[in-house]
Symmetry: C2
Subunit: 348 residues, 2 copies
């Protein structure tokens, strides 16, 4: 006989017992974590030659994620990843996170346990400690806030404002996949809404779906920089799309940029999906966002150190004229790059 | 001729311009802030003999605050204060905050400017730097997330778990006022909802209203500890009510406590309001919450150092028997203290 699955209401637990249960499996990995969850604040001590780097992000249901097609453990995982990505973008190593959530009392304890599964998985994969957070209720929906804290050598820190004319513009991984994954998920959601019997076929789409639902952060690139004694002149992570991020680097560095369309790293699944949806894959790569890849600039003489890494692509170079931030298309046309960054406040 | 007030829609600005405008007046006060707003992450460096302390809180419209009766600058101020209070409760000094918000596009730029006025005022009053945050949209309502970062001498850190039998239990300021302020505001809100013509009369209520709407954190007490070379054995800030907090200290320290009802510091306005509403002021003091006072325990021999400070009251003592956490009422009855701490997930 099938046993009925038991669900625990949050109102049965109360806030303190809920926190105790969710953090019971919390594991501390870093010596720098002196005190984690359980007091008024967490306590951290980095080595004297390090500086502390702090970043924070909000993730809001039906703005940043949809529970219609995202398993809660992926939501938890991604919430951590997007924050770690900001720390890596400083050429720093994340060591601690705080994770806070507000949910309505329609969420069960079991749902939150799944959310935390994702958080703990990300902590394990990136060797990071969960050291605090806040737990409260919302009128409706789920709201997440994550703060990531990391350490860096002061003279290895990488800001957005250090790009120099002549620098090579490099990007890790590939671009536009997360955006095409989102387009696919949204298309299928609408189809299933109308015809609940239809089962979406995801075969051959696994890469773009993973990039949207369960992205990774580029720890490997930061470790490569350390190993190869590379310090980029400027770096930023790609969350709002390449266009928006290269403009941040150019504006803050007082330089221009030339990016070559035919150099943009785009995965085959991204191209296929774009073609099927009659979208230009270049648009997905330039303006899609949520890639969590690193965009950085390197002096030409450092090129030799990275040229054998397939995970790093040179896509252009920094120029002196700060009014010149252009994409050179395949046919040689120069198109000014404009910020298509996500406008959170647009009417939907 | 009266000029029509101009409001700016958030969709006119977009996220980046919005952040630029809101942070244009940001002022950095602390040497430990190496890089504030404007990159992927903030950069902080504390002196080598200090440890880093981190705390975070969510504040959600219609759960933690109501915009019906709370000016936005008070919301911003309080959001910062409740986080600083957690840092002080570690016997640490806050130095930086990150401030994040999500709002629907029905909020105007001018509304957010008022919110930030409160944030900046709190930063000024407590000598703290705004170093980062996230800015996004919500489907409905306002969501705030604040992280506070501070520094402490490692051997002056004060946890919840250090209380010793014989310790005096002390509390700063007075208790229950913020709770009675909330009761008053809620009562008047209901009256005005039914009769919009009625203008509430707040005279003689200023203290309890201020305690609810624009609380302060006890920086002065932490400075006194430093000056007098006091390190409490245990400390916590009172956000969920004295009952809940003393139970945290007792559970984590493995001790019991005896608290005397007639020693509880309660302001005259709190008593009057409680009487008018047929509530027991002791209940407000024990279970009300949102006092943001410090609850701490001191060895008896330290008493001489604090006895002349009217802002510190001894309300009881720590006992060895950890099953004994009692309130001794005015008539000598012993009543077990139970956690009436806020259950965020109760049906409303």
């Amino acid at each position: 006989m099938e046993q009925k699955k038991k669900f625990t209401l949050l109102s049965e637990l109360g806030e303190f017992l809920l926190i105790d249960k969710l953090t019971a499996k919390n594991k501390i990995r870093n010596k720098s974590t002196i005190k984690a969850v359980g007091d008024d604040a967490a306590v951290i001590k980095y080595p004297d030659d390090k500086v502390t780097v702090v970043s924070t992000d909000l993730l809001i249901e039906n703005i940043h994620f949809s529970l219609v097609y995202t398993p809660l453990k992926y939501v938890g995982y991604k919430a951590v990843i997007v924050n770690l990505s900001d720390i890596y973008a400083m050429n720093a190593l994340p060591q601690q996170i705080t994770f806070s959530f507000a949910v309505s009392n329609r969420f069960t304890y079991e749902a939150l346990e799944e959310l935390y599964q994702g958080v703990y998985q990300a902590c394990e994969n990136y060797h990071v400690d969960l050291v605090g957070g806040d737990t409260t209720s919302s009128v409706k929906g789920m709201f997440l806030a994550v703060t990531a804290i990391g350490q860096a050598h002061k003279d290895r820190l990488t800001y957005r404002n250090g790009a120099k004319p002549g620098d090579l513009i490099c990007v890790s991984g590939d671009l536009g996949a997360a955006y095409m994954g989102l387009q696919l998920l949204e298309r299928e959601r609408k189809i299933v809404e109308k015809n609940p019997e239809i089962k979406p076929d995801w075969s051959g789409r696994d890469y773009i779906l993973r990039r949207q639902l369960r992205p990774e952060a580029r720890k490997d690139i930061i470790e490569l920089f350390e190993k190869k004694a590379i310090v980029p002149n400027a770096m930023i992570d790609i969350s709002d799309g390449l266009s928006s991020e290269i403009l941040h680097i150019c504006t803050q560095s007082g330089v221009g940029a030339k990016i070559y369309e035919d150099r943009l790293p785009i995965d085959e699944q991204t191209r296929q999906m774009a073609e099927e949806m009659h979208l230009d894959p270049t648009i997905a790569a330039m303006n899609g966002g949520e890639d969590y890849e690193l965009l950085f600039t390197l002096p030409m003489e450092e090129y030799v150190k990275i040229k054998d890494y397939p995970q790093i692509t040179v896509i252009g170079n920094i120029v002196e004229d700060k009014s010149y931030v252009n994409l050179i298309t395949r046919d040689g046309t120069e198109v000014p790059i404009t910020a298509q960054g996500w406008n959170a406040y647009q009417e939907r």
